[in-house]
């Protein structure tokens, strides 16, 4: 099968960074933490071994629930031969040495953290261990081969030296050019149980998120933004607000008016007194119908092929295909920690304390707004109270710096309300999917899919969009696993007048809903079980076939409704992980209950198995947001939802049983942070069809008149 996959993810942001204006290729002007460290032994940018024996991982990825503060420590500890519970974690500053090679920039996203670190962090640990052994061998005047490392010591016979005591000597050892990594059979940390290193603090309210950071003399800001995204302040009257006790300053930053006050509640209350006239700009006429109308019009365009095999056009010309049109809704990220940023602008530079998935982006926007060089911006990355892609954006960081400029030397903390957040998000893109399939007997002979959507990457990293292909729109398509002779998958970029953003699992969720639902339609049309129909196309994909068979087995999958219960199945490869999901539902055509979600997952090596399961459980619930009822709609340029009443996310009673079967093998780890999300919608939609006979081709499913209890 010849595949043409457009720009690979690996290339992707690497190519893009120039276009986005971020100076990633240069060594920054202030020393990296590794260089500045006072520790005696800093063999590379990730490890510090103190003379007190303290081990620190300088963590290049940001912690947002996905467990990098533990799973990345495990990779290091495995080869360094230290107890992972003894390793402290320090968040890395922006620095090219911390670039995520799978993304081409220092970003936390794309379910890449473990995949990217898998080799280099283990190698870093092994390198440091080798140098510590070398230092001990030198001291003992024996060949290094007679020494070994274990639990923070170098050992030889009954003699031992603690890492701390030889840290200074180790720093003088030559850095080995190559080190051998342990085989999986020798792992004592990877794949083994370990409590999250950040878990106890999180259960006790001790974790400091961006919104919790304190600095001496700190003041607070609340910001009124134009209700139409992209609009500007035309004029404003802040006289009443200015007179309020505790108000320090009123600042016009162009996209909004901020009130700075001694306390946040004073700022918020005073902001209500500011009367603002807006220049709403061209987006003021936008509404949901016009957005989807643009997608429909663009559906007539041929699009750009992203995966082709055989000659689908010739088959379609001869046969009458089954055709379908699918759509997905826009969604807000609604991270529970609202966007916020503490910023201080002073002569010595700019400090930003923020929850961010993109420290160099935070640095770049702060520099641009403050009119300084990036090297003059210190980014202090904090624990993130939910990312999901929202904190790849740095809009709120630029705003905080713009506001803080008005009060030099004073730390100013900008906090958005939930309403600010929902109405000024970078929504998940709306999408349209046009599909055609031709059956030959009981098998699928030809399948075409055209995905029409605005491109996130055209804004976020314009240099990465080449020849009309946004690599993130091809997710869930280029990794297609079914063996079909004639395939033609295309994408069409169509802007809709609203900025859009990466939302956990990005286009995997959009494309999987359309394709996995349509494959189900084709199976039913062929008169075959949706499970058998899929398995028959996976002869060359043993790992994919295995997870699908296992999910079916564990769930008790049946193709036909049985005593008020029905099942739906979906299958895909994403993030280098093989995923299968069976949804079990009960109820009637009016009211459906999702009873159970059963996953079978082959993600290669599960570095931290319990947290792999946790991420999949989390992905399932995020998948329900996408599936059931949540949506963003637009009227007169305004987002119509504003808080958790109008933009609901699932609550405990409506979350079904989630069962997860891991099928690990010795392969390198697959990504898992997003992998649980995409199959929820098609599995449930397929189960609803099995239960009710109603085929729902648009998300959220409740828009079709069905109700989930």
């Amino acid at each position: 099968m010849s595949a043409k996959s457009g720009v690979s993810r690996r290339q992707f942001l690497k190519a893009s960074t120039a276009g986005a204006g971020f100076v990633l290729g240069l060594r920054l002007g202030w020393p990296s933490q590794a260089e500045a460290a006072t520790a005696e032994f800093t063999p590379n940018a990730w490890i510090r071994v103190g003379t007190d024996g303290g081990i620190t991982l300088v963590c290049a990825r940001n912690e947002m629930g996905q467990d990098v503060h533990t799973s990345l420590v495990m990779l290091l500890a495995e080869e360094l031969e230290v107890d992972p519970r003894r390793v402290k974690v320090q968040q890395a500053p922006p620095d090219p040495v911390y670039i995520n090679t799978l993304m081409g920039a220092q970003v936390t996203g794309g379910s890449t953290s473990v995949r990217d670190a898998w080799d280099p962090l283990r190698r870093a640990g092994a390198t440091a261990r080798s140098m510590l052994i070398g230092a001990a061998a030198t001291r003992w005047k024996v060949p290094p081969g007679e020494c070994r490392a274990q639990n923070g010591y170098v050992l030889r016979g009954d003699k031992k030296l603690a890492y701390g005591t030889i840290a200074a000597a180790a720093a003088r050892e030559a850095v080995p050019s190559d080190v051998a990594l342990k085989p999986a059979s020798a792992f004592s940390v990877i794949g083994k149980p370990l409590p999250r290193l950040d878990g106890a603090d999180k259960a006790r309210g001790r974790t400091v998120f961006g919104i919790d950071v304190k600095q001496a003399g700190m003041v607070y800001a609340a910001l009124a933004q134009c209700p139409v995204i992209g609009g500007r302040v035309a004029s404003f009257d802040a006289e009443a607000a200015r007179k309020r006790a505790g108000v320090r300053k009123i600042v016009d930053i162009g996209e909004g008016v901020a009130v700075i006050a001694d306390h946040y509640w004073v700022a918020r209350s005073a902001l209500a007194d500011v009367k603002i006239q807006w220049d709403e700009g061209p987006a003021a006429t936008l509404d949901t119908a016009s957005i989807y109308a643009r997608l429909d019009q663009a559906g007539d365009r041929p699009g750009v092929p992203v995966k082709q095999a055989g000659d689908a056009a010739a088959i379609l010309a001869k046969a009458k295909p089954l055709e379908a049109r699918y759509t997905s809704q826009m969604l807000a990220h609604a991270t529970l920690e609202p966007p916020n940023c503490l910023a201080r602008v002073s002569r010595s530079g700019v400090d930003v304390w923020a929850s961010t998935q993109f420290p160099p982006g935070a640095q770049a926007v702060a520099a641009e707004v403050a009119g300084v060089k990036p090297a003059q911006v210190r980014v202090h990355s904090q624990f993130i109270g939910g990312g999901f892609g929202r904190r790849l954006e740095v809009d709120f960081i630029g705003q905080a710096v713009a506001i803080a400029k008005a009060m030099p030397d004073v730390p100013v903390k900008l906090i958005w309300t939930r309403e600010d957040d929902v109405t000024h998000d970078f929504c998940r893109p709306p999408s349209l999917h046009l599909l055609r399939g031709v059956l030959d007997g009981g098998r699928l002979l030809a399948l075409t899919h055209k995905m029409v959507s605005p491109s996130i990457t055209s804004r976020w990293a314009p240099g990465a969009v080449k020849d009309g292909i946004d690599g993130f729109m091809t997710e869930g398509v280029v990794d297609f696993t079914y063996d079909i002779v004639h395939v033609d998958f295309r994408t069409v970029i169509q802007e809709v007048g609203l900025r859009v953003g990466y939302w956990r699992s990005v286009s995997n969720a959009l494309n999987a809903f359309a394709i996995e639902s349509f494959v189900d339609e084709l199976a039913r049309e062929a008169g075959r079980s949706p499970l058998e129909f899929r398995l028959a196309m996976l002869g060359k994909q043993p790992r994919q076939r295995a997870v699908l068979e296992r999910a079916a087995l564990e769930s008790g999958f049946k193709a036909a409704r049985d005593t008020g219960r029905a099942f739906g199945v979906a299958s895909m490869k994403c993030y280098d992980s093989h995923m299968a999901l069976v949804a079990e539902v009960s109820g009637s055509a009016e009211s459906v209950k999702v009873e159970r979600l059963t996953y079978a997952v082959d993600c290669g090596t599960a570095v931290h198995p319990d947290q792999v399961i946790a991420q999949l459980q989390s992905g399932a619930v995020t998948g329900l947001i996408n599936t059931l009822r949540s949506k963003i709609t637009v009227k007169e340029g305004r987002i119509e939802q504003s808080n958790f009443d109008s933009f609901p996310i699932p609550r405990m009673p409506e979350v079904p049983r989630i069962e997860i079967v891991l099928m690990p093998n010795g392969d390198a780890p697959g990504g898992i942070g997003e992998a649980g999300v995409p199959l929820v919608a098609p599995a449930i939609a397929n189960a609803v069809f099995a239960l009710t006979g109603q085929r729902i081709r648009g998300l959220p499913l409740e828009d079709a008149g069905i109700r989930f209890s």
Partner: protein, 154 residues
């Protein structure tokens, strides 16, 4: 000046009486374990105990707690709270962790009142606390585990 008892000690706060307790705790008293999530009692990340009962603090004016006992995640203690947090550790509940102080406060209040909650009781008590990461399944398990530990006299 408004006076109340915070985590067992008397405090006196100079803030306007309509200031929500959430912001009094976070800004005036420096206790940031209680979280801001929605400002409209929809997510309950701001859950505290008022005279031992779980309540939201984001729309609770300072004037309403005058002379009363407020307990936050920083101060919650006792047999039930310790069992809840031990269960949170054992089951490995938190992901991003932002909602977890509120979840722990709600779970502690539930088990203080009802030491043997059914699934329906847990749903009823915990339905107000949103978890955007979706840790609900583990929250339920942890509450059941804590109930078991408390019941066995641990």
């Amino acid at each position: 000046m408004t006076e109340f008892h915070l985590n067992g000690k008397p405090v006196s706060v100079d803030a306007s009486s309509d200031t929500p307790v959430l912001w009094v705790l976070r800004d005036h008293l420096g206790l940031t374990g209680t979280k801001f999530g929605c400002g409209k009692t929809l997510c309950r990340a701001c859950t505290v105990h008022l005279d031992g009962k779980a309540t939201f603090s984001c729309l609770l004016p300072l004037s309403a707690v005058a002379g009363r006992r407020v307990t936050t995640i920083e101060g919650v203690d006792g047999r039930v709270a310790r069992a809840v947090q031990a269960a949170w550790d054992k089951i490995q509940v938190p992901q991003c962790g932002y909602c977890q102080p509120g979840q722990v406060m709600s779970a502690t209040a539930l088990l203080s009142k009802n030491p043997t909650p059914s699934d329906a009781d847990i749903d009823q008590a915990m339905q107000f606390n949103l978890c955007r990461c979706g840790t609900y399944q583990r929250i339920r398990l942890a509450i059941q585990d804590a109930a078991k530990q408390l019941g066995s006299g641990a």
